[in-house]
Subunit: 238 residues, 2 copies
């Protein structure tokens, strides 16, 4: 049975099927071996995500062959509590608890699915100030890279405690000089190059979970395997 | 319940989540209101598709809210019977019968789904000769635009007889001067511009089937509708 990979997250997940997006890359990569299911909710933090998770997954049958779920929240939780996006802020201890609750819910729903936690990306504060939220004339960024880093470390820690895979996007991106504009288009959301990096990290994590292209059977015979002299025989059921 | 839109077809469907692909555009368009499910099988004609349709859909529960299915075959059926892709050729009367059988199967599986037949695209024979199949040194194209047109007309006719929607991609593309290279990258498969045209035609057809963005409820509250002073209340279940 063709497995599904569910992408659960905020705007960076919701827009992942845009031009050059990491979700579209994944769907293309697994075009003949798995379904990529989008559950991205722009602006959401872990508090709201944990409240709605059951409803978000209600259209995916519990019997579906969900092989992996990416859980990618924190960019909104890490909004500063005294700046323009304060209403999205979630305190760090609650962020940890909410992540654990979301993972417990996923574990109960699909016991054999690989859960992959993704940390928030780094924040380029200059980029955030260049793209201010409507009505915010303070000139101060509503997120800082330092705050995002604390949430990223907490995310990695929760994954370690629960024996789950994690993609430390915050650290990984900052390994590259020029990450601020190479990977981020507005100081927070991903450029096509940033999307490509995340796609590759997710493919590595899925390979680690035995969900590489090589490990998954192709859905129906590949054209290159069809005998031109007796094509129909290739489609006979075993 | 969040509806699904299933894309069933050949390589032009299988590669529809590549860069600028029509499937990825659709998934992005419906990111908060529907799931786009990829069932593309490169090289397949309607004979093979009708043999495997049940298996292709086996991972999609019969109880799933499948609201629409695009059925997009014919480019391979229309391969000439005496050229390099002869093993993919299906005679025109059988193409009609196979299309009808596929639609009957879909109708039985998801009685309320809108079925949208898509004709094969036009063929740019010069483009095909520039990208010959491996081992084909004849210098003759394995497909012609005239043959593709006969299959396109048959597809439109089947849709009309069955009361289904059709996208006449063969005719639509040829309305534009320069369609040969603007829409086709190798005389057959779509460029990003060709993908964009097909995406728009599918959106029109879905709108006609009452599946526009405006007609579908958003999956969970939009961030712009959340009361900053009492966000959690927005997530209370009705």
């Amino acid at each position: 049975m063709r497995p599904s990979i569910v992408l659960f997250g905020d705007s960076i997940t919701e827009e992942s099927f845009g031009e050059g997006g990491w979700g579209a890359h994944l769907a293309n990569h697994y075009s003949r071996s798995g379904d990529v299911v989008l559950r991205g909710y722009s602006g959401y933090n872990t508090r709201w995500a944990s409240l709605v998770a059951d409803r978000a997954f209600s259209a995916i049958p519990a019997s579906a062959a969900v092989a992996a779920v990416t859980v990618f929240f924190g960019a909104n939780d890490a909004s500063l509590p005294d700046r323009a996006s304060a209403f999205q802020h979630v305190p760090l201890p609650e962020y940890r608890d909410n992540l654990r609750a979301i993972c417990a819910l996923l574990r109960a729903r699909w016991p054999s699915a690989a859960l992959i936690l993704v940390t928030p990306p780094p924040v380029d504060e200059r980029g955030r100030v260049r793209f201010p939220r409507n009505g915010d004339a303070s000139g101060l960024p509503e997120r800082t890279n330092e705050a995002a880093g604390r949430y990223a470390r907490a995310c990695v820690e929760v994954a370690r405690q629960r024996g789950l895979r994690a993609i430390d996007l915050w650290s990984r991106m900052q390994e590259f000089p020029g990450w601020e504009t190479a990977f981020l288009r507005d100081g927070l959301h991903l450029t096509p190059t940033g999307n490509r990096l995340l796609f590759e990290e997710v493919v590595f994590a899925l390979r680690d979970a035995n969900l590489s292209l090589e490990a998954l059977p192709a859905d129906l015979p590949l054209c290159s395997d069809i005998d031109p002299d007796n094509a129909v025989r290739c489609f006979e059921e075993e």
